[in-house]
């Protein structure tokens, strides 16, 4: 049997198209939530250095909990399936996005902030028109890190019946079927690489002008 035949065989038998759609919808939900929360957190604390330090230390601790442990810890609360998977992804992904947003907002040059103030921009206008646009490359960098985390966590979701591409991987491991493991593994890996490359391109474009 040729490589292509075994690939197509696995693709059909494991319904990888449906699994990919499941996978990506969890992935997208987690990313959207993490981005909204992460950016909001970064914006909320950007003028409070002390608060931000405490908060980021707490998030750092959350980050050290092993993924599987966190997934299992959430089971009693959220049950099986996609919900705990998405929540776990968000918990892991908020930190890099919030931290990068914070770093971007606070690293805007004093010269530009002074000029904005002198032109008569209010604090909110400085945030919207000066700080945030100048922070965008760093925010994008944070999202890029989160993309890679999330891809991994969503795949682990297969362990707790979340569906997605983690499910066929589990099947492959249980049946010791190398074809399924290799095809699904490569496919998940390829998706991660493609998303990372797209995010890297966006990050680069945003940084070009500055």
């Amino acid at each position: 049997m040729s490589a292509l035949d075994s690939f197509l065989g696995v693709w059909e038998a494991q319904r990888l198209m449906d699994r990919t759609i499941e996978h990506l919808s969890m992935f997208a939900a987690a990313m959207v939530l993490a981005t909204i929360i992460g950016v909001a957190v970064g914006v909320a604390v950007h003028r409070h250095a002390r608060v931000s330090q405490v908060l980021f230390n707490m998030l750092n601790v959350a980050e050290t909990i092993p993924t599987i442990a966190l997934l299992v810890l959430l089971l009693p609360v959220l049950g099986l399936g996609s919900r705990p998977t998405i929540v776990t992804s968000v918990i892991y992904s908020v930190l890099p996005i919030a931290r990068n947003t914070y770093a971007g907002l606070t690293s805007v040059s004093t010269e530009h902030l002074a000029v904005a103030e002198a032109l008569g921009l209010s604090r909110r206008e400085v945030l919207v028109h000066v700080r945030f646009p100048l922070a965008l490359p760093l925010v994008a960098g944070g999202i890029r890190i989160a993309l890679v985390f999330t891809m991994g966590v969503v795949t682990l979701g297969g362990l707790i019946a979340a569906g997605g591409l983690g499910a066929p991987l589990q099947t492959g491991i249980q049946l010791y079927d190398m074809d399924i493991i290799i095809v699904t593994g490569l496919w998940v890996g390829l998706l991660a690489v493609v998303f990372d490359a797209l995010a890297g391109y966006a990050e680069h474009r945003l940084g070009e002008r500055l």
Partner: protein, 374 residues
């Protein structure tokens, strides 16, 4: 959000016994100063003498510990700082154009925040760019990183004028530019100033700039105001030896007879000498690449100079010969005084120096002044 128009014109700015202290150190100590409506008052003094602090108290970027600043008789603390600043133009040496906005975006930022409609903002941006001698069609869409230092400072000035403020605060706006460009911008600004009829407070540490632009000059030292007066007042009746030292440099101008063009000329930089047959668009690309604002041209009959601004306006098929400006030509052994008189009478900032039919350098008002002061 639309800010109130706080004042249509300035009749007076009174800085009244103002003091600002940082810990034990006085930044400004009991300074009183009246600025008349429509005048340009230049504040000059060594760094740390308190001139910038004084300037920044006018639009409440710094609040005084004691004393008050009144505009048209009304304490500035009665106004909302945001509204006050939108009624006041502000230009600094570092310019601080926002790198993520185009030239048009930078100039139109505050009008946009004020809710002006896009059509009028566009028209305003165009008018301001023309005022500062940057053809709008070439510059509106550019980003700050695509501009030379002089062009950035012009955009900075246009941005400060966006809301047509009756009051303009300028903190060493030309300080970071090279001498030739600085004198050119000073001259342009002096013309613009006449057109605009605004009240301006202008901080500098360059006495010649002060003399060139200021209707009156305030001299500061160690957080205090030492003397305020017209250039003549300061030259002929200095209040102290410190004032005498500061304005003293210009007294050397009286000994001009002994100075020749050779002593003050600036040698022509590499690439700054162009051939008259060169196409205007090639020259434009060349000068933008080298960040030159002005270049010498060896014309068919006589040499001349060409400025970037001429090239933007030149038809595409023009050669430098068609657009060059005739400028006076001097020999290195010429006495400087008559040479400068020639320049002044022609209303030009610079002339060329030729030796054995080869252009070897440039002589300009500002280079001369720097030479004499050193």
């Amino acid at each position: 959000m639309r800010s109130e128009r706080l004042f249509d014109r300035i009749t007076s700015i009174d800085i009244d016994h103002v003091t600002k202290r940082y810990g034990e150190v006085y930044a400004v100590r009991d300074v009183s100063l009246s600025v008349r409506g429509g005048e340009l008052l230049s504040l000059i003094g060594p760094s740390g003498s308190g001139k910038t602090t004084t300037l920044r108290m006018v639009n409440r970027l710094i609040e005084p510990d004691a004393g008050a600043v009144r505009i048209n008789g009304e304490d500035v603390r009665a106004h909302d700082p945001v509204a006050l600043r939108r009624n006041t133009g502000y230009v600094i040496q570092q310019i601080g154009l926002f790198p993520h906005m185009t030239v048009a975006g930078n100039i139109g930022l505050v009008p946009r925040l004020e809710g002006m409609d896009p059509g009028s903002i566009g028209a305003r941006v165009r008018a301001l760019l023309s005022l500062v001698d940057l053809p709008p069609e070439h510059f509106m869409g550019r980003y700050p990183s695509e501009l030379s230092g002089g062009q950035q400072q012009r955009v900075g000035l246009a941005r400060a004028l966006a809301m047509d403020p009756p009051l303009l605060l300028m903190d060493e706006p030309f300080g970071a530019l090279d001498p030739l460009l600085r004198v050119q911008l000073q001259q342009e600004f002096s013309t613009i100033k006449e057109e605009l009829g605004k009240t301006i407070i202008f901080v500098t540490h360059d006495i010649e700039e002060s003399f060139a632009l200021g209707d009156r000059i305030g001299i500061m030292r160690d957080a205090s105001l030492v003397q305020v007066g017209t250039p003549q007042d300061l030259l002929f009746s200095p209040a102290s030896s410190f004032v005498e030292d500061i304005v003293g440099g210009s007294r050397k101008l009286r000994h001009l007879e002994h100075v020749t063009v050779r002593d003050v000329m600036v040698p022509l930089g590499a690439g700054a000498m162009l051939d008259g047959d060169m196409g205007a668009s090639d020259a434009l690309a060349h000068m933008e690449r080298l960040d030159l604002d002005t270049a010498a041209v060896s014309g068919r009959s006589s040499p001349g100079m060409v400025r970037l601004i001429d090239l933007y306006r030149a038809p595409t098929d023009a050669t430098l010969e068609d657009v060059l400006r005739d400028v006076p030509v001097f020999s290195p052994s010429d006495a400087l005084a008559p040479a400068l008189r020639t320049l002044r009478d022609a209303g030009l900032a610079a002339g060329l120096v030729m030796e054995h039919d080869i252009v070897t350098g440039v002589v300009c008002m500002d280079c001369m002044v720097l030479e004499l002061l050193s």
